[in-house]
Each structure stands twice: as C-alpha cells, then as structure tokens.
Amino acid sequence: MMSGSDPSKEEFWRWQEYHRIVPDIKWSSKDVITAGVDVGSVGSKAAVMVNGKAYSWGITRTGANSPESANKALDYALKDTGLKVSDLKFIVGTGYGRVNVPMANKAITEIACHAKGANYIWGPSVRTVLDVGGQDIKAIKIDETGRVVSFLMNDKCAAGTGRGMEVFADLLQIPIEDIGEISLTVEKEPEPVSCTCVAFAKTEAMGLLRKGWSKEKVLAAYTRAMAVRMANLINRVGLERELVVTGGQSKNRGIVSRIETILGVKCLPMPNWREDGLDPMVAGALGAALIGKALYEKAQKT
C-alpha cells in the first residue's frame, strides 16, 4: 500500500511521503465526504473521511508556499480514490498554514483538530494529547468527546520538535526514520544534553562526539533532553490518563518510550500505521475532517 519517493542516502533528515486508501470503504455521492488539510511547518497532511470514517490520507513535505502545499497534500490523499475536490462536502484547513488553505470552507486551529483526531484514533479514554509538530509542541487536555479542555504550547523555537530531530539526523548521519530505535540501543542512558536549543545542542553534540561519545550515545542524550522538555509541558497542563502522542514525532520510539519512563505511565499503543492502522501524524487532518462533518451537518440543519 505504500508509495512515494525513496529517501535519498544523502538526506538523512528526509522522511517518507506516502498516501493510503483504506480498503473496503465504498462511497457514493449521497455520503457525507469531508476532508481535513493540515499544513504544518514541516509536513502537510490531508485526510478524507466518508461519513466520519477515515478513508484516505496523504503526507507530503511542506514547501515554501502554503497554498501549494495544501493542494499537493489533498491531491495526494485523493489519488486513486476516484474522488475530486468538488465531491468534498466540507473542507477544514488547519495547522500553521491554515489560513492559506485555498479550498477550505473553514480554518480551525491544529489544537482542536489534534484533540478530535486523537479521540478518533484511540477512542474516548484519551485525556491528554501531546502533539509534537515540526516547529512546536502542544500538550492538550481533552474530554471524552475529544473537545479541548485546556492546552499549553512551547515557546516559538524549534527546541524539542521535529525540526530539531531533522537537524540531528543530518548531524549524526542517521536516517530520521531510524533515529528513535537507534537512540534506544545505548546500554546505559546518558545524562541529557543541557540545552535543547537546536543551535546550542548542535555545538554541544559536536563536543561530545569529539570527546569520543558514540553517535548512539549523543543521540540518546539529545532525545532524552527533548523528552524531558515534553514531559514538563505535559506535567504543566496536568497529566491525566490515557496519554497519547500525535504528530510526526509519535513515530519516534526514542521519544515516546522516554516520556513514558519520565512520567511513569504508558501511552496508548501506537497503531500499526505501516500496514493497516491509522497514522497519528495525520491526527490533525483526521480531526479537521471530522469537525468538517459536524460543521456541514450543522449547516444543513439550519
């Protein structure tokens, strides 16, 4: 089911773009077909839902131009489905570039969308969502219907975010998709690096490499520092079970397992997104499509 470009050997930061169609779902023009387009600072995601059920999605890298990235992601999600943009009853734009999603009927923040999406992926027991995006992290408390109760967002910097991980993948020359597992291969967890600021952490990491630390150990120290930062944010918003992680970094086992250790709780298990499961990186787009359905139905009633 996977398709997309092969990661180039030289570009260690490059993660795989792909699209997916869920089998066994048929649609007709009578169905409420909605889409969510989540233009993040690093990745653009689009998801299509048929009557509130995930049908297809696509993940691409965000380019310099938000509207183009939005179009690209949605086209990718619609690929091979037979659907056209005009078949979509309601489109919600979300993410950092939400106001620049040209075909959207409405813009909703990624905070509300990730909340709704996490509720869809894992069910009503989710109370705390950690969304680790390309350029920011958000800790969101939600109720059993997936509505936001409170939230916190990190400062405007890439520390402890997906973009920071990309920089490290490049520095250590480890493919981004292996970075989590490799960070877990150290025998003894090292002390976290003292500074999560990408620029400073890079300098610190180079110093550690010169001191003779292995790549794995440096990576573990950086990942640990990011996990501490994320755990702090979760504690500040108030941890309540169940906890889940969404966004690109949900795929980073090194991050997720360290957060679990620090907080002393297990996250709900990651769906098997490589095969037939939903992808938590698309949580925002899925939530957006669901909110789109609710808004469409509300508009039909009035």
Partner: protein, 443 residues
C-alpha cells in the same frame, strides 16, 4: 529641568543626529500603527458609535492633545508625568498642573532600551527607556517632573534611569497593604508629595482646589462605571473601543474626557434599547488580566481576540492600563484637608489590586475583582496576559488559575514580548482558546 553638567548614571550620550533620525523613523512607524489600529477598530464595527470619533482623534499621541498640553505649558502651567497608577493625580490637578501618564507601548523603542538594561528586563521598562533616549514620547518630553512609584523592580530602577533626564520624585509604596503602619507610611508619602507639588508649581493646594479636583475624578469615575455597566449585557461596544476610551483618560483632559464618555454612553443606551448588538450575543465573552497593555503598539492581543476566527469580544479587564485606572472613587466623608488627604491615601493604597502587594491573605483583592467580574459580566474565558520579564504577574498566575478553576472558568496564560514577530503563534493560541469556548455548540 535637570542640570546637564552632572554626568549621567545610565543614559548614554546619543548624538543629536542619531536621536533625530531614530525619532523620525519610529514616529513615522508609530503613526502608521495608530492609523492601522483605528482603521481595524472601525472595520470591526460597521456602524461604530459616532462618539468614538473623538477618541480616535485623541488616540493620536502625536496629535491634538500634545499640542494642547504645549499651549498650556506656554501659558505657564506645569506638566507632571507619572509612571504608575499610584500617583495621586488629584493633587496634581489641585495645584493647577497637568497629570499625564508616560509608560511606553512602543515596540521599537524596547530594542533601544536593550542598550542600557538586559533583555530579560520587562519590555514596558525597556521601551520607556528607549522612548526617552530618542525623545519619542510627546507626553514624557513635555513633563516638567515625573512621579515614579516604586512598585516592581523594573519601576524602581526605571525611576533612577529616567532621573538622568528629568526631575523625578520617587514614592515608596508599602508591600503589605492591609496594615495600619503601611497606611500611615503611605499617608506620609502622599503628604510629602503634596508639599513637593506645591513647591514645584508654586501653587498652593487649597481645600477648595483639592475638593474640585476630587470632584473631577468622581465625575470621571461615574462616567467610566457607566461605560463598564453597558458592557455587562449583550455586546453594544467592541472591547477595543471601550479599552481605548478607558486608557485615553490618562493623557486626556479629565473634564472633557468625562463629557465625551457620557455622550458615548448615551449613544450606547439607545443601542441597548434597540437591541442593536455589535456582534452576535453568543460571541465568547473574554476578560483580560495581567501586565498592562499600552497604546499604540501593544494593541496586539485585543486585536487578535476580536479579529480571530472564531471571534471573541473583550467585555472586561483587570489591568492598570484599563479598568483599574478609574474603577474606585475617592471616599471622602468630610471635605476637610485632612480628611481628603486621608481618603486619597486610602484610595490609592487599599483599592489597588496590583500584584506588587501581598498581605495576610495574599492579593485577595485581585482574586475578588476577577471572581466578581466573571460573575457579573458573564465572562466565559479569561486570558492571563504576561510580557516576559513581568515577574509579579507571572508568579501570581498559579493562584489566579486555582481560583478560576474552582468556578470552572477556563483561563489561558499568554506570554509574549514587545514584538510583532510572534503574532502568528499567538493567533493559534488565541483561536484555540476561543474554539475551546465555542466548541460546546459547534463541534
């Protein structure tokens, strides 16, 4: 004026040419920002009250009002600037001088302040220093003397720094509010300030002139309270409009401000009668509390709230740049000089909800203000606004949040800087908060 032969303790000697160039650049940018703010406020309300026209004009810090003050100065009146709401403006007015608040809301000048103090310092302070360095603020420049009340750390050192350029009178504020010795101490400060103002202006503050000044304040408070009452029901005025009216008091002529505010309220009364709402009555009702927000640049948050999607409306605040200016009248029993001074002392000390205070029960007065507002003004969400470096407000958040959690009112801590760079991220935060308040109905 200060004797310039004495060496400056803080302020650098900036070459005249550089001062003029920077002043012109920042002033031009600021005039554009003022015009843009007003244009956006007009756009937010398609049939904005006629009476707002006056406040739009008075909002031009480089316009009519500073010309009027200049003209008064030329006739021999003294201008006394102040940096904190604790400055007893009635004493200034009673000595036939003009009170004007001089805190800076200019983003660009905060970067100039960085030359004198570290960036960790509150931007309100850095910006005020920067404004002085390039002589940007007409009100600060025209002030013959400044009253600085030593509330927070920033204000305390700002007083010293501005002392390089201006005659400055510091006032010690006691940190424990509800004790008899504090009140005694503060009453002495007030009496001393009276003597200082009299000596400086050469005008005796008489029983009659002080009574008149207090009555001017009373009438202003009445008009002010009428305006805030009108914000209790379905919205008849945008929050930004009301906030501008409230803040303009600190630089406007007090009597004229009162007339114009009453006229605005007359107009709003008619709107209430016609159920002529400024936005749908189910628009989320927001209160802002925290660090003061000074016109014109630091209008970022109210603009974001009222232009967000979904839109919110600010119906109340608890800020010393807003409702705290005029909320509390001076409670005079007998109009003797002693009693009036006592009433002034009490009003400025006891009524304040500034986080520079603590007391046996902490800053309980602030909590009570917030809870009362939430209840009476039907607030659905509170934005706790803090600029980085504003330590006292930042620290008091935990307590405020606990109190609001107890009554189930969401509060969001929004921290920012004197910059426009974070508007995108702030927008996400504000919109997510407003979505949270509306989600119950929409999705």
């Amino acid at each position: 004026m200060k004797n310039k032969s004495v060496e400056n303790k803080y302020l650098p000697e900036v070459p005249r040419k550089e001062i003029d160039e920077l002043k012109n650049t920042v002033k031009t940018a600021s005039q554009k920002i003022i015009a843009d703010n007003i244009a956006r406020m007009k756009k937010a309300d398609s049939h904005r009250p006629e009476a707002m026209k006056y406040f739009d004009d008075i909002a031009d810090l480089f316009g009519q009002r500073q010309e009027e003050i200049q003209a008064e100065k030329e006739k021999g009146k003294k201008v006394i600037g102040y940096l904190c709401l604790f400055a007893p403006t009635e004493l200034i007015m009673a000595a036939d001088a003009i009170p004007v608040r001089v805190n800076s809301g200019w983003y660009d000048t905060s970067k100039l302040g960085d030359r004198i103090v570290p960036v960790e310092v509150c931007p309100v302070i850095r910006s005020t220093i920067g404004a002085k360095m390039i002589e940007l603020s007409p009100f600060l420049e025209k002030s013959d003397a400044l009253i600085s009340v030593l509330t927070c750390d920033g204000m305390t050192k700002l007083s010293e720094i501005l002392g390089d350029a201006k005659t400055i009178w510091g006032m010690n504020i006691p940190r424990i509010k509800d004790s008899t010795q504090s009140l005694r101490f503060w009453s002495d400060e007030i009496k001393h300030m009276k003597d200082q103002i009299e000596k400086f202006t050469g005008n005796k503050i008489t029983r009659k002139s002080l009574k008149e000044a207090i009555e001017v304040s009373h009438r202003a408070t009445k008009a002010f309270r009428r305006l805030q009452e009108l914000r209790k029901g379905p919205p008849v005025i945008m929050g930004r409009d009301a906030m501008l009216v409230n803040q303009a008091y600190v630089w406007d002529d007090k009597v004229r401000w009162t007339e114009k505010t009453e006229a605005l309220c007359d107009e709003l009364d008619k709107r209430v009668a016609n159920k002529d709402w400024v936005c749908p009555p189910d628009t989320p009702r927001v209160m802002v509390t925290g660090t003061p927000m000074f016109w014109p640049d630091n209008w970022k948050l109210p603009t974001l709230v009222e232009e967000a999607s979904p839109k919110g409306i600010i119906v109340a605040d608890e800020q010393c740049s807003g409702e705290r200016i005029l909320n509390d009248p001076i409670g005079v029993d007998e109009w003797s000089m002693d009693d009036m001074l006592k009433a002034i002392s009490e009003r400025y000390l006891m009524a304040s909800t500034c986080p520079c205070f603590t007391s046996e029960d902490g800053n309980e007065d602030r909590i009570n203000w917030l809870l009362n507002k939430v209840k009476e003004w039907n607030i659905q969400g509170v934005i706790y606004y803090v600029v980085r470096g504003c330590m006292l407000y930042a620290m008091e958040y935990t307590r405020v949040k606990k109190a609001l959690d107890k009554i189930n009112v969401p509060v969001y801590y929004l921290d920012t800087e004197y910059t426009r760079e974070d508007v995108g991220q702030m927008k996400t935060r504000v919109e997510a908060f407003l979505e949270m308040l509306t989600a119950r109905v929409d999705f």
